[in-house]
C-alpha cells in the first residue's frame, strides 16, 4: 500500500491537456476568425465558471451577483484607457487590482448575511454598481459608450493581430484561472475548505480561520472576474450598464454551466462550458426557449444528479483528472 496524490488517469489527462493547450495556442494559424471569436468567448465563460465554482462549490459563497465584477472590470478598462491613457493590457491588470480593492468593503458588508441571503446580498451589490455607473455621464451614463478606435488600434497592428491577441488573452486567463483554482485547492487552505464542505466536524479540528479563507477566496475571485470583465468588453468594444451588469449573461449562464457540468469539481465547469456552447450553437435560434431549456435541465440535474455530469462520470469510473486529495493505492508489485 502507498499513499499517492496522482493517478494514471491524471497523468494521461495532463499529457493530453498539454497537447490540447499547444493546439489551442497555435489556433490563430489554423482556425477561422469566427471560430476564434467563439473560442475566445468560450474561454472567458470557462474562467467565469471556474471562479464561480470555487466560490459556491468549495467556499460556500453562493453568489448571484458576479455580474458586479464583470461590469466593474469592463468599465475600469474603459475608464483607465480613456481617462488615464493606459494601454489596454495594463488597463486589464488595473481592472483586476481595482476589482480586488472594491471587493474588500463589499465582502465586509455582505459576509454579514448567511447562506441564501448572502446570495441576494451579492445581487444588491451588483444593482448598486449598475445604478452607480449609469449615473456617471463621463462613461456615457445609462446609454453607455464605445471604446475609441485609437485605443483599439494601439493594441496591435492590424485586425488579425488584434484578434489573435485578444484570443490569447482569453485563453491565457482561462488557463491561469484553472491553474490557480487547482493550486489553491491543493494548498492547506484549499483542503481545509473542501473538508468543511464535506464535513463540518473535520473543519473545526483543522483550526484554520474559515472566515479569513473565504474572504481571500472572495477577493481573489472578484479581482479575476474583473479582469475577465475587462477582456469581455475589450472584445465587445462597447459597454452599457445593462449589458455590463446583466444577471442573465454573467451569472445565470455561469451557474447553469457549473450545475450541469458538476458543482464542486474542477472538471465540472470545463464539461459544462463545452455543453453550454454546444447547446447554444444548436439552439441559439430558439431565443428565450433556449434559456428555459437550460433552466429545466439545471433543475433536473440539481434534483436527480446534484454532482452534475462530471459527478456521474466520476461515480461510474472513479476518475479524477485534477487530483486534489491523497488516495490510498494498493501496490501490486510489493505489499507491506
Amino acid at each position: 500500500m502507498r499513499v499517492t496524490r496522482t493517478s494514471q488517469a491524471a497523468k494521461i489527462a495532463a499529457i493530453l491537456g498539454a497537447g490540447v493547450l499547444v493546439v489551442l495556442i497555435i489556433a490563430p494559424w489554423w482556425a477561422g476568425r469566427a471560430d476564434m471569436r467563439l473560442m475566445g468567448e468560450l474561454f472567458l465563460y470557462l474562467a467565469l465558471a471556474s471562479l464561480w465554482n470555487l466560490m459556491a462549490g468549495y467556499a460556500g459563497l453562493v453568489s448571484v451577483g458576479q455580474q458586479a465584477y464583470v461590469g466593474f472590470g469592463g468599465y475600469m478598462l474603459f475608464a483607465l484607457t480613456i481617462f488615464a491613457g493606459f494601454p489596454p493590457i495594463v488597463a486589464i491588470a488595473g481592472a483586476g487590482v481595482l476589482g480586488a480593492l472594491i471587493s474588500v468593503p463589499v465582502a465586509l458588508l455582505i459576509f454579514r448575511l448567511r447562506g441564501a441571503y448572502f446570495a441576494i446580498g451579492t445581487w444588491v451589490i451588483a444593482e448598486v454598481f449598475r445604478l452607480s455607473f449609469a449615473q456617471i455621464s463621463a462613461l456615457g451614463g445609462g446609454s453607455g459608450s464605445s471604446l475609441p478606435v485609437k485605443i483599439v488600434r494601439s493594441m496591435a497592428d492590424g485586425r488579425l493581430a488584434r484578434e489573435a491577441l485578444s484570443y490569447w488573452l482569453a485563453l491565457g486567463i482561462a488557463f491561469c484561472v484553472i491553474a490557480a483554482v487547482y493550486m489553491f485547492l491543493r494548498s492547506r487552505q484549499g483542503l481545509a475548505l473542501t473538508a468543511i464542505r464535506d464535513n463540518e466536524l473535520a473543519a473545526s479540528s483543522l483550526g484554520i480561520d474559515i472566515w479569513w479563507t473565504k474572504f481571500i477566496v472572495y477577493v481573489a475571485a472578484s479581482a479575476l472576474t474583473a479582469m475577465i470583465g475587462a477582456l469581455i468588453f475589450l472584445q465587445k468594444l462597447r459597454i452599457s450598464p445593462d449589458a455590463a451588469f446583466s444577471v442573465n449573461d454573467w451569472t445565470a449562464f455561469v451557474i447553469f454551466i457549473v450545475v450541469i457540468g458538476g458543482i464542486g469539481t474542477i472538471e465540472g465547469p470545463i464539461i459544462g462550458t463545452l455543453i453550454f456552447f454546444a447547446l447554444r450553437e444548436t439552439l441559439a435560434d430558439l431565443g428565450t426557449v433556449y434559456l428555459m431549456v437550460l433552466g429545466v435541465v439545471a433543475i433536473l440535474i440539481m434534483l436527480r444528479a446534484p454532482k452534475g455530469i462530471w459527478g456521474l462520470v466520476r461515480a461510474r469510473f472513479d476518475l479524477q483528472l485534477f487530483p486534489l486529495g491523497y488516495r490510498v493505492v494498493s501496490d501490486k508489485v510489493k505489499g507491506d
Binding site: A56, G60, V62, V64, L109, I110, R112, L113, R114, G115, A116, Y117, A119, I120, G121, W123, V124, E127, V128, L131, S132, A134, Q135, V247, N248, A252, I255, F256, V259, I263, T288, V289, L291, M292, L294, G295, V296, A298, I299, M302, L303, P306
Partner: protein, 287 residues
C-alpha cells in the same frame, strides 16, 4: 410641506414593499427556504391579473378572486412537486433550483407576453385622491398600505392564534418531532408556500395597478422584498412593514434629490442597516 409629502408618499410605498417581503419572510420562517423566484412570481401574478382583466373585463382588484386561489394552488403544487425535494442540510439545491425557476418564469412570460411594458387599468382608483391637512393623498397608495397592514395582521393572527399557525411554528422548530404529532411536513410546507403565494398575488395585482411592468422586473421586486425583510429583522412580520416603510422613504427621498437616485438610495439605506445593525431592527430568528 414638500418634504413631509415625500416622507408620507415613501411610507405608503413601503406598504407595497412589505407585501413583497411578507411572503418571503413567511416561507423563510417556516422552512428556512429563500425563494429566488419570489420576484418573478409577483410579476407572474400581475400578468395573471392582466389576463383575467382582459378576458373578463373585471376590475383588477376583483381579479384577485381568481388570482389569489390560483397562485395558492400553484404554490402548493410547486412546493410538493419540486421544492420539498430540495430541502435539507445543503443550501445549494433550493437556491439553485429557485434560481432556475426564476429564469424559466421570466422567459416564459417573455415568450407569452413579449417584453412590452403592461399595466392594469383600475379606472378612477388610480387618480383619485383626498386631502389630509395640507397633504393630498392618493387613494390607491393609501389603500395599498391599508391592505398591507391587514395582510400582515392576518398573517400574525394566523401564525400565533390558529391551529395551522401552531403547525407552522412546530414544523419550523423541529421537523422530526412535528412529524410525531401527526404533522406531514410536506403538506405543511405546501400550505406555507400556498399562503406565501396568495400574498404574492395581492402584491402582484397592486404592483400592476400602480406601475407598468414587464417580464424582466421580477429580480428588482425580489431585492426590494429582501431588503425590507433584512431591515426589519428576520422572522418578524411587523418588522417587514417597518423595513418596507424605511425602504420606501429612502427611495422617495432619493428621488426627490435626483430622479436617477430613487432605487440606489433604497439600496444604500439597506447597506447602511447591514453595516450598523446586521441583525435588522427587530430580529426574531437567528441565522
Amino acid at each position: 410641506m414638500d418634504w413631509v409629502n415625500v416622507l408620507v408618499q415613501g411610507a405608503l410605498l413601503g406598504g407595497l414593499y412589505a407585501l413583497f417581503a411578507a411572503g418571503l419572510s413567511l416561507i423563510f420562517g417556516v422552512m428556512r427556504l429563500v425563494n429566488i423566484a419570489h420576484g418573478d412570481l409577483i410579476i407572474f401574478a400581475a400578468y395573471m391579473g392582466l389576463t383575467v382583466v382582459t378576458f373578463t373585463g373585471l376590475h383588477p382588484l376583483l381579479a384577485l378572486v381568481f388570482v389569489i386561489p390560483a397562485m395558492a394552488i400553484i404554490g402548493y403544487v410547486l412546493q410538493i412537486g419540486i421544492l420539498n425535494h430540495t430541502l435539507g442540510d445543503d443550501l445549494l439545491p433550493p437556491l439553485l433550483v429557485t434560481f432556475g425557476l426564476s429564469v424559466i418564469l421570466q422567459n416564459s412570460l417573455l415568450e407569452i407576453y413579449t417584453a412590452d411594458p403592461q399595466k392594469m387599468d383600475a379606472g378612477v382608483l388610480e387618480t383619485a385622491s383626498f386631502p389630509l391637512g395640507e397633504l393630498q393623498l392618493g387613494v390607491l397608495p393609501v389603500l395599498t398600505f391599508g391592505i398591507a397592514v391587514v395582510v400582515i395582521a392576518s398573517l400574525q393572527w394566523l401564525f400565533y392564534r390558529t391551529a395551522i399557525g401552531r403547525a407552522f411554528r412546530a414544523v419550523s422548530d423541529d421537523q422530526d418531532i412535528a412529524q410525531l404529532m401527526g404533522l406531514n411536513k410536506s403538506h405543511i410546507f405546501g400550505l406555507a408556500m400556498a399562503l406565501a403565494l396568495a400574498v404574492t398575488a395581492i402584491a402582484g395585482i397592486l404592483l400592476g395597478i400602480r406601475t407598468s411592468f414587464d417580464p424582466s422586473v421580477g429580480g428588482g421586486r425580489l431585492i426590494f422584498g429582501f431588503e425590507a425583510v433584512i431591515i426589519g429583522g428576520l422572522g418578524n412580520l411587523w418588522g417587514t412593514l417597518v423595513g418596507g416603510v424605511i425602504l420606501g422613504v429612502a427611495q422617495t427621498v432619493g428621488a426627490k434629490i435626483d430622479p436617477g437616485w430613487q432605487v440606489l438610495a433604497g439600496h444604500v439605506a439597506f447597506l447602511l442597516v447591514l453595516a450598523i445593525r446586521p441583525q435588522g431592527l427587530f430580529p426574531r430568528i437567528s441565522g
